[in-house]
Symmetry: C2
């Protein structure tokens, strides 16, 4: 199974993983790495590296934004740990994270990355009031 690492500034990772836990339950092979005030980049990199070593040979890293320390250190580790297949994505949102966590069994890394990008992009929507949507959203049911 492809391992998933979520990493971002502050409590980005633990926040998003709490969302996944509430919506889809506990997930195996998923590790969150927070990068909090007072930590340095070396500590962050070590934490991500430790997580990568726990997760095995295929790892998808979902980060908060391109260019930040969680993203950059993941990219550096992708280049250093050449015995592993590591991929790094930025701009993680919940539709993307749910997609990769729930579809790891049926897709290889290349497919999973495309699904991640598609789910993340398609999940970004501005609500517009239309007759059809009004019906859809007037229910109390939901997750």
């Amino acid at each position: 199974m492809i391992g998933i690492i979520v990493s971002g500034h502050g409590n980005f990772a633990s926040g998003l993983l709490s969302t996944v836990k509430l919506i889809a339950g506990e997930q195996d092979m998923v590790i969150g790495i927070d990068f909090v005030d007072g930590q340095g980049s070396v500590e962050l990199k070590n934490n991500i590296k430790d997580a990568m070593n726990k997760l095995g040979d295929e790892i998808l890293v979902l980060t908060d934004l391109a260019g930040g320390s969680p993203f950059m250190n993941s990219v550096l580790l992708k280049q250093e740990l050449t015995d592993k297949k590591i991929e790094v994505i930025s701009g993680t949102n919940i539709p993307m994270l749910l997609e990769v966590v729930l579809k790891r069994d049926d897709n290889d890394m290349k497919e999973l990355m495309q699904l991640a990008k598609m789910a993340g992009t398609n999940g970004i929507n501005i609500f517009e009031l239309k007759e059809k949507q009004e019906e859809d959203y007037n229910s109390d049911d939901g997750i």
Copy 2:
């Protein structure tokens, strides 16, 4: 100034707002509403409504995913609180949230919504190793 509400399942909101605080500092007129285990939809809706009343007449709600309780209750409040201009977006990620928080002063609601969607979508990227990027990301500098 347009008020911002971030809301999602679990600690989505507090997680993302901790990221914004680390990257861009404390922000005015931004409220996070977590929807945690044990809370009901009525409590969530009241919490979002209270936040809307604190934030004034123009409010942009950034939610975790379409169809979930944070999204649906925000849409219901958009329909109920007709004296306010309320807009609701799903699929929130950090590039989107930073964009709206930092560009509220120079844009009206319609522009800000489009900027949010564009920043969120453009912020989703799969890292690809190219000669140019290798140079860019081999630096220790970063945020």
